[in-house]
């Protein structure tokens, strides 16, 4: 049992958890599970140790700490610390070089992300400075770079071995190499055992940490891990005369040639050249050869040199001294397999399909140990310290799990690995996937569709272009700021505030909680009191165990034992799993594809609705935060009087097949009142920002609590709910930070161009000092957008308590320049209509 190589281990008959895959993730996970006190762990791999033949074994093993994703940066930072503690990390520095001005702008944006996420050893450097650091570069082909001193190279195989051995030494782990999994048995929705070539192991927890093979293993349990094996090409050339006296594996900074999608790094006496520039080469998990059949390892495929020809020319341009040296030969060249997911993020967490089956897949070496620790916390303590919502395996909708979809999206984003990806950038492949019943009407009105959760949603309507002039909306001068944006959005917003607008909100996820235990089940999940009268709709935070946000959503009470949950499409599947996990004696039924939703808001909304129905829609007859079924002609419509845009109005629900008729009905009744269609640009950004409404995934996540979000109004309900204890504690203590809304005071850059931050940028003092709260969190822009009715560009950000005061003058760092900003609101009071008179309007609203 204590054979460290695991080659001859026999398997125990039962285990607390079985981890499949001894790459960097599996090894890290068993280590952290053991650290957190779990014993009787089993780690399996079908290959030999220490290199079982997965992607870890051929990884280039370097770590660049800065990513535009906060989640990824946090996982990477934790991983770097762990590699350092294990003594397997060499800090060599790294430079991302630019060949184009567009790339320089991207690197300046990277400076912002670095500052937002707290990576401070970064600088924009000139070609001459790069030449100093990397003397073999031809600085004439580049115009600058982004230097990170803490870029490092790690030994991921050694790290894995050390972590695995620590768990073994603690007596917590049995390792079995050369052991193939034949089946994962699921009974009554939960895993029960793993069947292997060395016998069966009874267990209630199975973790799939086997990289490119993960979809196959998941399928054994009827679950889905949407990823595809994809090729990353690399060659190793040498011996390089300049590196002849190298004392360690790497002494010069790694260079990422961003515009050619390549990297070059010293590797002892050689130079490794890797590429993400070639055509996407995707494989099937079932097509990967066995350890025995593989010429090298199963994930090192034969090099397809035609795909690399252009890359060699690019490497030659940048590093002619080495790459152009006729004495330096190509010693090794492979098509290495790695995992790509449909959205480029890892796949982590318990699968929604099989209880106790966890995914730990599509993880690269740079984030492996961090993922191991976070997953262990999630499994043992119920919640990771690092927010993992973007990586949650439960995030996928059914339409995002098909092999065709995964391959289409992986093909699309592979060449963006080093790409310049705009925060608003839309996918092009595998669309349209889901069409709302309003799609054809919207399309005929010139809707510009963005995708969320597979749904095509109008973001704005070209038919409203005339409003831009009518309202005198200004465009944005800088191409980047105006990309994926239109002044029509602001015009639609202003017209909505004057008249009324309809919104296609069909992408909402809708699920019902029904059964004798329905009330207790929703009470357990919802922070707010759910034992309300039938016909009430409640907006409520959903908390994680430590009192941060798990979600925020609305719940309608239809009867004693029937509740309807409405939540955003992007996070809806994770919410569905959360509700199901906490339901007792109740069913949670996904009705997303049964209901469509049309939003109707604006001062004329009541007049419009009244024109379609003889039901009482007066303020007294239909108060705010209530819903009921009304008859609009022949249609029976569930109308819910709430608003996310801060105006009088309703969400109108009908079965999807009646949607087209609902649109027509509202449209016809609205025409005399000047109704217009408006897009998600208003609903998701301008409308909500003016009202300081928070959005999950932006302002709200598990790393901030309800008090900090400024949402701790009312008393804490007596009934227990997830996160209650922590929430009560949060109310009793001073918050470390407070959500604030800031206005940009001056948009003009040093070159005289007006610039508009888009989100993610650091908030600093006017002198450029970072703002760090008592818990060590940096202040950054969680959401940014226009507030057309207040005439300002609005930024939301958590500010340290001492900075969270109205009128406080601060700055935002955007594209390398600081712009002055002022705190307009500390807390949740809206900047527009602070008294909420519009939403709760009894009569006509002054437009």
């Amino acid at each position: 049992m204590n054979d460290p190589s695991g080659a001859t281990s026999s398997l125990p008959p039962a285990a607390r958890a079985v981890v499949i895959g001894a790459g960097i993730v599996g090894n890290s996970l068993v280590h952290h599970l053991a650290e957190l006190g779990w014993t009787d762990l089993v780690l399996l791999d079908k290959g030999p140790l220490p290199n079982p033949g997965g992607s870890t074994g051929h990884a280039s093993n370097f770590i660049f700490p800065v990513d535009h994703s906060r989640e990824m940066t946090a996982l990477t930072a934790d991983s770097s610390r762990q590699y350092e503690d294990l003594g397997v990390r060499i800090e060599c520095g790294g430079i991302e070089v630019a060949r184009t001005e567009e790339r320089m702008e991207e690197l300046r944006r990277r400076m912002s992300s670095a500052a937002s996420w707290g990576v401070d050893d970064v600088a924009i450097v000139t070609p001459a400075e790069i030449k100093e650091l990397v003397p073999y570069i031809d600085e004439s082909v580049i115009i600058g770079g982004f230097h990170t001193k803490s870029v490092s190279v790690v030994d991921s195989l050694r790290a894995g071995t050390l972590m695995r051995e620590r768990a073994q030494e603690a007596g917590a782990l049995t390792v079995a190499a050369n052991t193939e999994v034949l089946g994962i048995d699921v009974e009554h929705g939960r895993v029960r055992r793993v069947r292997t070539t060395r016998g069966d192991v009874e267990t209630e927890i199975v973790v799939i940490a086997c990289g490119v093979w993960s979809p196959r293993l998941a399928r054994m349990a009827g679950a889905s891990i949407p990823l595809t094996p994809a090729v990353h090409q690399m060659i190793d050339i040498g011996p390089v005369p300049r590196f002849a006296g190298a004392k360690s594996a790497i002494e010069f900074p790694i260079v990422r040639d961003m515009d050619t999608n390549m990297y070059e790094r010293q590797d002892g006496s050689g130079l490794e050249v890797g590429s993400y520039a070639h055509r996407p080469i995707l494989h099937d998990p079932d097509e990967i050869p066995s350890v025995e059949e593989a010429a090298l390892s199963p994930t090192e495929f034969p090099f397809t040199q035609d795909d690399f020809a252009e890359q060699m020319e690019h490497a030659l341009e940048l590093m002619p001294e080495i790459v152009g040296d006729e004495s330096v030969g190509i010693k090794y060249a492979i098509n290495g397999l790695l995992s790509l997911t449909p959205d480029g993020m890892p796949v982590l967490g318990e699968t929604p399909e099989a209880g106790g089956l966890w995914a730990a897949s599509a993880v690269w070496v740079k984030e492996g140990p961090g993922v191991g620790r976070a997953l262990a916390q999630w499994m043992v303590e119920g919640e990771p310290e690092i927010e993992l919502q973007s990586s949650d395996v439960a995030r996928f909708h059914d339409c995002q799990k098909s092999v065709a979809h995964v391959k289409a999206r992986a093909s699309e984003h592979f060449n963006k690995t080093y790409g310049i990806v705009h925060p608003g950038e839309q996918w092009e492949s595998d669309r349209p996937a889901r069409l709302s019943p309003f799609y054809h009407q919207a399309r005929d009105l010139g809707a510009v569709f963005y995708e969320t959760a597979g749904w095509e949603r109008p973001h704005w309507y070209e038919s409203n272009a005339g409003l831009v002039e009518e309202y005198g909306v200004e465009g944005r001068e800088a191409e980047w700021d105006s990309r994926w944006w239109s002044p029509v959005i602001n015009a639609e917003h202003l017209a909505m505030r004057d008249r009324a607008a309809i919104f296609d909100l069909t992408a909402f996820c809708v699920f019902d909680v029904v059964g004798p235990g329905a009330l207790d089940s929703v009470q357990r999940v919802a922070m707010r009191q759910m034992d309300v009268k039938h016909g009430k709709v409640v907006y409520t935070p959903v908390l994680a165990p430590r009192g941060g946000f798990r979600s925020d959503l609305t719940i309608m009470r239809l009867s004693d034992d029937h509740f309807r949950v409405v939540t955003g499409g992007a996070h809806g599947m994770a919410d569905l799993k959360w509700f199901r996990d906490h339901a007792t004696d109740a069913q949670v039924v996904d009705l997303t594809s049964s209901w469509c939703t049309l939003g109707l808001w604006g001062p004329r909304a009541r007049d419009i609705l009244a024109g379609t129905t003889s039901d009482d829609v007066s303020h007294e007859g239909f108060p705010f935060a209530t819903f009921r079924t009304i008859e609009m002609g022949p249609l029976r419509v569930m109308a819910s009087r709430i608003s996310y845009v801060g105006d009088l109005g309703w969400e109108l629900y009908v079965p999807i097949e009646e949607g087209a008729r609902l649109w027509e009905t509202v449209w016809e009744a609205g025409e005399p009142h000047g109704v217009l269609p408006a897009g998600i640009g208003v609903y998701g950004t301008t409308g909500r920002l003016e009202k300081c409404y928070r959005a999950f995934g932006f302002e709200l996540d598990s790393e901030y609590d309800v008090v900090e979000a400024g949402m701790a109004w009312g008393k804490v309900k007596d009934e227990d709910f997830v996160g209650r204890e922590a929430h009560v504690r949060h109310r009793e203590q001073e918050p470390a930070a407070l959500m604030c809304t800031l206005t940009v005071d001056d948009h003009t850059s040093s070159s005289g161009v007006k610039r508009y931050p888009l989100g993610g940028e650091p908030i600093q003092t006017r002198d450029g000092e970072p703002l760090v709260d008592a818990r060590g969190r940096r202040s950054f822009v969680t959401s940014a957008g226009a507030g057309p009715s207040v005439g300002k560009h609005l930024l939301m950000s958590y500010l340290p308590a001492e900075h969270a005061r109205e009128g406080n003058e601060l700055a935002v760092l955007y594209m390398g320049e600081r712009y002055p900003v002022t705190v307009a609101v500390a807390g949740s009071t809206p900047v527009f209509d602070p008294g909420n008179e519009r939403v709760k309007a009894a009569g006509a609203v002054p437009a």
């Binding site: 059949e293 040199q305 035609d306």
Partner: protein, 250 residues
């Protein structure tokens, strides 16, 4: 001098051999392709001769259109041009292969030296070089571990127990070489890039009827990969040294 090197595209094996369902070929789905180590040395030897004496190295491969990839690999080592004798992809027997090479050679200006690897890495029939020499009426020396050319004469060395046999043959001649005659160079990146634009002509002869019939392939049973743990940490060193001594590498 004008040197021709004949090479064959073969699967690059390393793991367990798997046959196609009809047992007629290796399953190459997961495999890359290469030329035999003997042929790599043949190309290196030819390039060195031309570097020394001037002239041109031509590389010929008989195989599917994809064999151009292997020709380009040799062009990156320093060969000057390629001839692809394109087949439909099926295996040609040694007689047919030799006949096609002879026809291709006759269509060319005379080569002073034609170099083969001693045998192909896959079928290993040991026939093509000798058949070509015979058909062209040229002297042939096989199994070379040394080769030099001076004054129109090739000095050919074979390793024999206790020493070397040396043959001197007048050019034009045919030789086949063994791995170890030299240490082939790795291609540099500039050489790889140059190889892309070097000329490769294609000829497509008719496939003659096979006279050697392949019934089926069999993968011989063997011990497979075996791992033995010699010890842990520094304590394992003596055992490792012993193994290295047994292998003759220490």
């Amino acid at each position: 001098m004008r040197v021709l090197v004949c090479v064959k595209r073969v699967p690059l094996t390393g793991g367990r051999m798997v046959l196609t369902e009809d047992d007629q070929a290796l399953e190459t789905r997961h495999l890359g392709f290469t030329i035999s180590p003997h042929e790599e040395c043949g190309v290196e030897e030819a390039v060195r001769l031309v570097e020394q004496h001037g002239g041109e190295v031509t590389v010929l491969a008989l195989g599917p259109p994809e064999a151009e990839e292997q020709i380009r690999d040799t062009l990156a080592i320093g060969a000057d041009r390629g001839i692809l004798v394109a087949t439909d992809g099926g295996e040609w027997d040694p007689q047919a292969t030799a006949a096609a090479i002879v026809a291709a050679v006759r269509a060319e200006e005379e080569f002073d030296l034609i170099v083969f690897g001693n045998e192909s890495a896959d079928s290993g029939n040991y026939q093509v070089g000798i058949r070509v020499a015979h058909a062209l009426g040229r002297p042939v020396v096989t199994g070379l571990k040394g080769l030099s050319v001076e004054d129109g004469v090739a000095r050919c060395e074979q390793e024999v127990p206790g020493g070397r046999d040396v043959y001197r043959v007048p050019l034009p001649a045919v030789v086949s070489v063994l791995e170890g005659i030299n240490l082939p160079r790795y291609p540099s990146v500039p050489a790889k890039l140059r190889a892309r634009s070097k000329p490769v002509e294609t000829v497509s002869p008719e496939r003659p009827g096979a006279r050697l019939e392949k019934l089926r392939l069999v993968v011989p049973g063997g011990p497979g990969k075996q791992a033995e743990i010699l010890g842990e940490g520094a304590g394992a060193a003596p055992a490792v040294v012993n193994v290295m001594r047994e292998l003759g590498v220490a």
